[in-house]
Assembly symmetry: C2
Homo-oligomer: 862 residues x 2
Amino acid sequence: MASIDGDVSPLAHVTEFLVSDTRETTLTEPDVENPRKVKFTVTPVKLDPLIRTSQDETKNHDGLVPRPHNRKYSDAFTQFEQDDVTLGTLTTPSDTLLTQSSITALLSSKFKDFHKKMKQYGLASPRFRKRLVSKWESLNYDKNECDLYCEEEHDNQSKKKYLLKTVSRWVIMFIVGIGAAVLAAGIHIIVEVVAHKKFGLIQKYIDKCAKENCLIIPVLIWSGINLVVSLLAAALVTYLSPMAAGSGIPLIKSYLNGVKIPGLLSLQCFIAKTVGVVLSILGGLACGKEGPMAHSGSIIAAGLGKGRIHWCGKKRKEIKLVMWSDEVYESFRSDHEIRDFVAGGAASGVSAAFGAPVGGTLFSVEEAASFWNTELVWRVFFSAMVACFTTNVLISAFNGDPTHLSNPGLVRFDTFQSLSFNLIEIPVFMVMAVIGGLIGALFVVLNYKLTVFRQKYLHRYKWIKISEAGLVAVVSAIIGFMMMYGLNDCVESKPSSHHALTSKMFCEDKKYNSMSSLFLTTPEGCLKALLHDPFDSFSATSLVAFVVVFFMLGVWTYGLSVSSGVFIPSLAIGAAWGRLVGMGVIQLFPDQAKDLGKYALIGAAAQLGGILRTTISLTVIIVECTGDISFGLCIMIALMVSKWVGDFFTTGLYDMNIEVSGIPILMPEPPPMCEHLKASEVMSQPVLSLYPKEKVGYIIDVLIAETFSGFPIIEPRSKRDQSVGKLKGLILSSQLLTLLRKKNFAPEGMPCPSNVRMKDFNDPFPTELIKIEDIDQKLTDEEKECVIDFRPYMNKTPYTVSPEFSMPRVFRLFRGLGLRHIIIVNDRYEPLGMVTRKDLAKFRAESKRGMLKIEHLKIEDI
Amino acid sequence: MASIDGDVSPLAHVTEFLVSDTRETTLTEPDVENPRKVKFTVTPVKLDPLIRTSQDETKNHDGLVPRPHNRKYSDAFTQFEQDDVTLGTLTTPSDTLLTQSSITALLSSKFKDFHKKMKQYGLASPRFRKRLVSKWESLNYDKNECDLYCEEEHDNQSKKKYLLKTVSRWVIMFIVGIGAAVLAAGIHIIVEVVAHKKFGLIQKYIDKCAKENCLIIPVLIWSGINLVVSLLAAALVTYLSPMAAGSGIPLIKSYLNGVKIPGLLSLQCFIAKTVGVVLSILGGLACGKEGPMAHSGSIIAAGLGKGRIHWCGKKRKEIKLVMWSDEVYESFRSDHEIRDFVAGGAASGVSAAFGAPVGGTLFSVEEAASFWNTELVWRVFFSAMVACFTTNVLISAFNGDPTHLSNPGLVRFDTFQSLSFNLIEIPVFMVMAVIGGLIGALFVVLNYKLTVFRQKYLHRYKWIKISEAGLVAVVSAIIGFMMMYGLNDCVESKPSSHHALTSKMFCEDKKYNSMSSLFLTTPEGCLKALLHDPFDSFSATSLVAFVVVFFMLGVWTYGLSVSSGVFIPSLAIGAAWGRLVGMGVIQLFPDQAKDLGKYALIGAAAQLGGILRTTISLTVIIVECTGDISFGLCIMIALMVSKWVGDFFTTGLYDMNIEVSGIPILMPEPPPMCEHLKASEVMSQPVLSLYPKEKVGYIIDVLIAETFSGFPIIEPRSKRDQSVGKLKGLILSSQLLTLLRKKNFAPEGMPCPSNVRMKDFNDPFPTELIKIEDIDQKLTDEEKECVIDFRPYMNKTPYTVSPEFSMPRVFRLFRGLGLRHIIIVNDRYEPLGMVTRKDLAKFRAESKRGMLKIEHLKIEDI
């Protein structure tokens, strides 16, 4: 490959690192959605001849069987000509400003050493965080206002329908709230009842066997139950829907950010998630049920919004959930509307889990800058409020007093004895926040290493994944028992909760084993005990041991192939060391009230902040859980400082998850110091352009050979004008598939049938189900000679920018409007390239150990 | 004028209604910022000859003195040629698709009857709500990435600076929070102390004179104090800063929405606002201090962000508030950065006023869809938290116990005895919400009529405005006294607050006059009494009388030329009738607890919702004030239903205010059912285009004659090509002024001096202070022959869209990115027209009595 010197075109560098596998003169095209297939013979010295040298066509487009059609396949590529980009200068029409200035920018910018870096991260050593995976596509939030759409809208438009749609949205959000609440309360009640029975049984045997010296029996019972149940939990997730593993929040975040995640909102994911989380907790794993709740809420919302839910197995089944006429649902089946419903569902889930309607709403909105509008947020908030209220009624009813309404969410921190604090305590809280940030960063690093290890070695066979979950469950049981047995920490004070199970084990009368109140309960019960139990419930040694053990279990559990949340374990770890700090402070200043509650709370908040790093919504959620606004500032400081400290070392756990998956998420703001990058340097190029009318056979060739998700439509060239055609529109590959499937073509000269409607394009899973190869086989040679007319279906007004646009502005345009493609046009309105999500997401700012770094991620095809 | 038939170009109709004052064949250009000055002789049958008929130049551009320059003034107008807009069709290059389809769209759409409607709203009868005022311009949130900027950024760019800026933002937000809190607490304490003295004096005289039969003395004292203080309050606002009248929230809303409001953030506005609100309350007006707090907080934030605050009198003074190097401040002086600080300031103000940090944050964010990003919201939230906490410390310290921290805000609803509720109570709350909505709508209607009356008749002379305030204050005092005297409602129960002043008047021993506890206090004290006083504190008759009287006073007070908020009066009215409803319910179901608190609260919420109609932030604010999340659902229902009921009749009070001022605010979503409108129908057209190099004299001519705020720069025409030039960039008129002022020009052929830096363009008030006429006089004829080169300063990449873009998508682009101009280009990249804020804001959806209507507002020049 050419060395870096002033003469080399900037794009040569940018694309260079992509070819570490094929060390020849072939240059892999960076992207439109899939970088692998299009290859060009190229001498990467000047950009100019990049595409023009296409003499040897069959070699360039391997895999493409030559077919009889008039137009050459390679002709369709819009060429990047050097004088196309002279928009920057006015007086000298033929200069090479872009190339020159870009080289300067590139050499002087932080990207100088792409080449070196990218070699380090070659395919040989999979650096999971430094890449994007090409399979993730964008959702399309922009409306395709094609002629067909305008026509249908024109017929449909009526005030009555507009009102019906508005009312439907509210009613659906109401039912989503109820649904999320019923689900949350149901899971909560089942877990509480069954777990109480399970731990009651174990406790009985422990107390019996401590006297009769048969302690092996409770250990066997405990590990046995854990093993069986957790194997079930893991099998359910692994076989039914691997998407349901983990908390689901990173995936929901990505979805709301605009990434298409196939199967995320399917029925089997719902089942695996909800049943799975019950089994995980009953299986004794160190996990919570709050994250999964947000995911389940989202699935409920998507199902109710679309009026149907899919079973995406080998055969795709559809279950109808009808409430309105199908006409209303049809208009709700666009990416845009479903995202709005999913935002409501996620908010309801969080709201039901924590009793935090405002926090839930913020959680949903935080991730999706592009769609904050008052009316939508109001609907989301309504849904969250309904969820919170319904959960409250249901759980209060379960507790025997439905009118008391004291259980707004599943997790509540209950009332603290006192949360008054002194200004001089704030430094203490800040130190705790630093500790939280450090422990959090360690958690993320360890979990990252474990995740990579799992992806490399354990995820080859399903049975390994399942066995690992079983192993963790058994180890959890044994460790729990060992803690009780080994520490034998006997205390006198009563636990604050009346439901708590305590075991005596070897303790004297009127005393009990302190560890039993932490291990003979669900992780939530454990958290409550740590927050509220009296001052002398746990000895310092026990707490230290608990923190270490629970931390290790937490790291190991998160990322298993089970449905599990990380909120509760994080909070429990933090609450435990928070108590420790509190005990230290009270030792130093003995005239204080012996109340550890606030220290445990700050510790919990700091730990959560250190691990997750989400900020405003988390603060509000914890404040709402606590119910004390004055103390909010302390919680906020704890979360903020712990985030800063944590960010100094790593990204947050959820972000780490997203990065490991290679999901091209877009940050709310463009990466700093990228002002020098121009759209022409960011764009994918060359683009494959189509004419307004194309032969069926040719389209099939294109679709088989390429995985571009959208194609610019250009004006047909006349003979005398050799330049590229003017941009006329944009058509998506999914639209092409639909048109082919519906046989929307006719022999040349005849009008095409008008058998396609907008709703045919809105079907969310066409690309997954329609294989282009199948269509190819089904069509006769005669049909392949027919012509498709794209004009009624193409988006006539795609967003275009000039090549001089700076990358931050392209970024804001893309993210602000939720786009899928931006076409770069020159001043003759001819397409030069396209910008997609991955072109923007590949620039990532990372702040590591206080240093700000801009990285250029690799796009990988798996 | 031509009648509507198929042959008439759509733009002829759209612009037609603008000429109701000049019934000839002159056609007023709809906009770029000012519609008045450019006039064209036109026969409005075809769009084509719209500009071409420019033979009689001196008549067309009256007021323009012919000057010696090579290029003709009218040449600069980019022409709208019919074949420029054929982008929609691919095969037939010369058809008239746009014209045809637009006519169809126009005739079939709701805009058919523009002509008729617009005649009704002619200038003769000023319908204040159906217009936009041309003086309001947009802020510019998009960066002008011109060559100069790139150059400076290139020199400036360093990680250190980036970090310094980030840290500065946080520190400034911290200080903003402290500042807002100190201000809020200061105002609160002064008002409490002085008002207590004032009412103590009056009470003493009342009780003395009730026995000695000299009741005229307290009446005189009362009205005397009110008169003097309120005259002062009104004089302060009227003479110092008329912008400070009212609550300020509508103006802050508009500012955050992106409208430039000169003087809103100036020092005299700050003084008038803060001192004014103290005087207003002490003057006995029925108003609160919460709205003004948001405004003052914003001014503090803007001042601290810019590092200086302006005194915008006849002479403009500048007070420096230095904390960082001037270099940091320079980068904060863009519209974009200041808006972010103002959002924080407004949130802090609300947070300090209500002790509602989350509510305050939402209040700020709700208005500004375009800039929700996690980091900013986090900063805003931090600032709000700091404000809430500091207020708490300060007020607790004033109350004698700084560590108790029980006063997070100025207004708190305090703890209610019980807020548990039964599900069957929800219908009652809904009925109350309907009442709230109805009363609220009546409030808005009455206040609207009053506002229009004031604008028509009272606002001619300043002394009338001031006298009106004095009159209201005296009437308030007399009514207060009459209520106590006339009703003579003697009760036995003690008021809940220990501070409350009660007068005996004619009551027996151990009893007191119930009205005295409502009128011998500030409106806030009155609200607290209504929320918390025991069941039999007020008789039903007293409450009815209070509601009627306070409602009338509230309507009359809001809109006076004093600094005053409407929150507290609204809440008090609602709480009073809420108590009434509660008394009725308890009468019907006598076995209930005799607790009126929750009914008063719901009444207050419903009334506030009915008057203001803001939704999510208000709910959160009230929930935070109440501190009970379970009851949140009831409050939410009350606010929601009252909003719906109110919206059925009118818009909310703040929106009414904005509409009366003619501020072109953009709703979060484009108006419904406007999909058929194309960008080419919305845009202002023709546009005045400039060449990259122009003579100074010519630019001065243009600036004197036109009030366009931006000019497209086009490629110079060559002789052989007669079409319009390609778009090369955009320059703002404020930039032109700066270039002229800095004498950035040189004789033809010489290089221009490079004496202009980006910060010279960022000065927020250049257009107000630099008069183009002054510049004209100062320049010699020689200098006027010099040439300015725009290329280093013009925005080379303005946002462009094709004429086929639908209006909703243009709207989303404009609002989503906070733009000021969008240029419409044809497929040869030549400018056809521009879209500015007013072009989009003139389409307004209004739902009146359940009917959805799209209105087309008039742009008026005052």
